[in-house]
Amino acid sequence: MELNRRNFISLMVGGVAGMHITPLPWKLTDDIAIWTQNWPWVPVPPAGAFNSAKSVCTLCPGGCGIEVRKVDGRAVKIEGRTDFPVNPGGICPVGMGGLQLLYNEDIRFTRPMKRVGPRGAGQFADISWKEAVGILSERIGGLRKKGAGEAIAAIDGNSARSATALLVERLLKAVGSPNYLRAPSLDDTYSLANLMMLGTDGPMAYDLENSDFILSFGAGLIEGWGAPGRMINAWSIWRDQETRGKVKVVQVEARASNTASKADQWVAVMPGTEGALALAMAHVIIKEGLYNKEFVGGYTSGFNEWSSFVIRQYSPEQAAAVTSCPAEEIRSLARAFAKSKAPVALCGRGKGTLNGSLYESMCIQSLNALTGGINRIGGVLVQDHLPLASLPDITYDEVSRQGVQKARLDHAGTPKFPYAQSVASLFAKEVREAADSRIDTLLVFGSNPVQTLPDGGLFRKALSKIPFIVSFSSFRDDTSMYADLVLPDHTYLEKMDEVVWPAGLQYPLYSLTRPVVKPLYETKNCGDTIIELARAIGGSVAASFPWKGFEDVVKHRAKGLFDSAKGLTGYKADSPVWKMMQKAEEITPDYKSFDDLWNKLSKGGFWYRPVHNYGRWDSIFKTATGKFEFVSTRLQLAIQGYLRQNQADSALSGLGIGAGAQVAAYPHYEETNAQVDTKVYPITLVPYEMINLASGSVASPPHLNKTIFDNQLLKEDSFAEINPKTASQLGIKEGDPVFIESAAGRIRVRVSIFEGAMPGCVFVPLGFGRIGWDEFTRGKGANPNDIILPRMDPVSGQPVWWKTPVKITKA
């Protein structure tokens, strides 16, 4: 056929028409769509029988109850548990994402390993458990032979007084080392403040649900403080239509956090001046005679002395100059607080992952004393520790007996820090600055000091002076990247572990986690590893660990609960514990024998005692005076001891106390400013915590990355919040990359302009800037801990991390 114009057009028209009629191209497009959708791989989750297992979440010290939904042996979802006294069904986002910490081979140590690459590179080779325990026991045995037990140190992040923590401390003593360190936490500050004023280092027990005026000095009540499941539920009750207006929540903070925004009132003060605000409130309460005369008159000591000091030095006008909070606001706040029926003042910073300030805690506790809120309904309760059975005495040999008596490297317990148990940042400083290696072997348990210690990276730098580092972490976290040897623990979903008194709870509660899935890898419960290690070291060390395994230790301790107190192991959501406690009746235990109790406990169970003797003020204070002490006898003794030893008359600067010897035993405000030129570093860096960003030793599960806004993290850059006024003074705009520089170093972040940020400050979230983990976490954002100047909180010795002078320059 000839191809002329006519034929060509016919062909084209015919072709176009034909294309529309034939199904072929459509079929092909569809096939391609289906084919590409199914290629290369979309997982098909295997089906199976649904079942569930109850346990407890130990990702933070809150210890919320969880129920894990499973398909055959596979865990597919974590949910809150409604039959658990702490949290009626709710948990926090971190706990909700917990399965991503279990099922991710890239972030876990699957078996014992030893380092093969350079430190920090995270290159490890598999070894057997036998070899791993052998290496460590030989090293420790070798040091002991040289009589150098004190060259072994441990830093421990397991909850204080839990069985694992006790075993770690015991191991250190048994091998002959005094250098048992704890990662600092708010609990340390609480215990210390209680010891000074109540005479007992028991847990801080805030009866928040029964209170009608909650005055929080910086505690992130809905941002992870205490047990998040409990706190957010309490918050919800306060916001109920029926209770709305009956309970008032006031948040004292320098930034419009979620807690500050959602509270009834936000009181903005300069970071670190919360103590001065509390004293000014005390001033108003005392001057206007609003204090509880029965309690103050009958059950406190040192009131006259302290009150005249407060009247003299902390008028609202004087405090306004320090805090930047107007004097009138302080007055009306103090009146509203004191006139409430059941007010409570609580202290803490953010989640309480890190320590607070001792004097500040004492100032705030004084408000509770003035209003008679100590051991009263809705106040702060005086509680003893759980009656768990103590472990048998340690067997010492000559080496360990001498070793434990040697001086601690961090000076805790010396006249400088007479009541401190451990000061990790000071330990790091000593190790770093010493000419020779004072520590040969460092054991890291349940903590991640490289990431979490607010010390300007000091701990990380100190690691280079330690020849041998052993990690017992489940995860390839930031600290274990530096480890030479890894003896991995199970994750919290694979093991039995204790929760001894959830953080901030007002009644005694003990709960046990249990393996909700079979351990996935060749990991081992850290408690069992310690016992095995002790056995391998042999001699008196082995004799100090007479148990078959960790479960025996837990069982032994739980016996104490059965023997010495009446408790319950069942709970119904319709009778919350805080209501039960008001009845003050003795209860009948719901278990018959210890075996019965243990049987219930070991299935992810719990034991609690919903009884409290409210309103009792005689014989509960264990101070020298037998009363609540506004002027702490213990502090007076410490100060006298210090002055005697240093042949000084009144200067306490060595203790970090600016006030005179007279005032030093009072709850008072200490400025604790870093000694740097504020002309060079005019801005104050304030780290803050977010509930949807894990800031502790364990990183956020990746699901949480979806909840982070793009003005908090964008690609690799995290953001610092700055007030628009401050930003315009600095000439920086939204999204600008900047350097935040302190005397300790600098970090690179982007700027997020936020009206709720106090002018003159820069707010940087804690939890970013991790160096371990995997692609979901590693290298995202900056860690403000890297540039915090390690400044000491007086007496406690812990770092003052909440304000660091910095300068901001465009990057």
Partner: protein, 264 residues
């Protein structure tokens, strides 16, 4: 304004979110992601690509320090009742409003990935899979996936289903017990169950016995972009005018503060 949901027969599942109770913790988002097998990519900070069914929006009152306040809007799919925008435009019948439940479904195997629904949705409730779900071999992260929800392939749009599989689960249970009607609370979404502040209430808007239908009539209740007339089945509660005002666009002087809403 009297609001009617769904046809005369059947249920009309909906949600009321109390913004005064919401603390902005994000547990709803994580619970949703875990329940519905949402994949996580190494970079989730690109919010155009990040896949979420329930998304939290942070808002501020814009006032200067120290009068600034923040609040949050958790935003699932609104499951619009009237002229459901996404359903109206879908050329592949991949999304439908179920007349028996009021739930707007999404059928991945029908979806051709044209993203017309995403353009139509006034709430940005839909996200597109530019890639297959990220479950690289060797990490073993696919082990936590639930068999109740199929993981999505590249090239399809996904969105909140009001945890439809939970309705199936509850119905199966009810049918085995020879019941045809579900009790209140028998079927709730994962976010409702997870919210530690109990800010989310879920149930049948047409059943006057259900708490949601009572709450939806509260003087503090409002919906997002209500005047588009799509009849969303997600209600919000807030006593704060500045939060309520952000729920829609208003001409100057048009917004009625909650005090007048209460009176009227």
């Amino acid at each position: 304004m009297e609001k009617k949901h769904g046809p005369a027969k059947g249920n009309s599942y909906g949600m009321v979110i109390d913004l005064d109770k919401c603390t902005g913790c994000g547990t709803c988002m994580v619970a949703c992601a875990a329940e519905n097998n949402l994949a996580v990519r190494p970079d989730e900070s690109d919010k155009q690509r990040s896949i979420t069914w329930m998304r939290l929006y942070k808002v501020t009152n814009g006032k200067d320090f120290p009068y600034t306040e923040v609040s949050y809007f958790p935003r699932p799919c609104m499951h619009c009742d009237h002229h459901t925008p996404c359903v109206s435009v879908c050329p592949a019948t991949a999304t439908e409003t179920d007349p028996h439940t009021g739930i707007v479904s999404q059928i991945y195997t029908r979806c051709i990935g044209c993203r017309y629904c995403m353009a139509a949705c006034p709430y940005h409730a839909r996200t597109f899979n530019w890639w297959d779900g990220y479950f690289p071999k060797g990490k073993g992260i696919e082990r936590y996936l639930s068999p109740e929800v199929s993981p999505r392939m590249r090239g399809v749009v996904e969105k909140c289903t009001f945890c439809h599989h939970r309705l199936m689960r509850a119905k199966t249970q009810a049918y085995t017990e020879d019941r045809r009607e579900l009790e209140e609370g028998e079927y709730i979404t994962a976010c409702t169950e997870a919210c530690p502040a109990q800010a989310i209430t879920f149930g049948d808007l047409k059943n006057p016995e259900h708490k949601v239908s009572r709450l939806a009539k509260s003087p503090y209740a409002f919906r997002l972009l209500e005047r588009l007339g799509t009849e969303p089945k997600v209600y919000y509660l807030s006593t704060k005018d500045w939060v309520r005002k952000l729920g829609d666009n208003y001409l100057p002087g048009e917004f009625k503060p909650v005090s007048t809403v209460k009176a009227g």
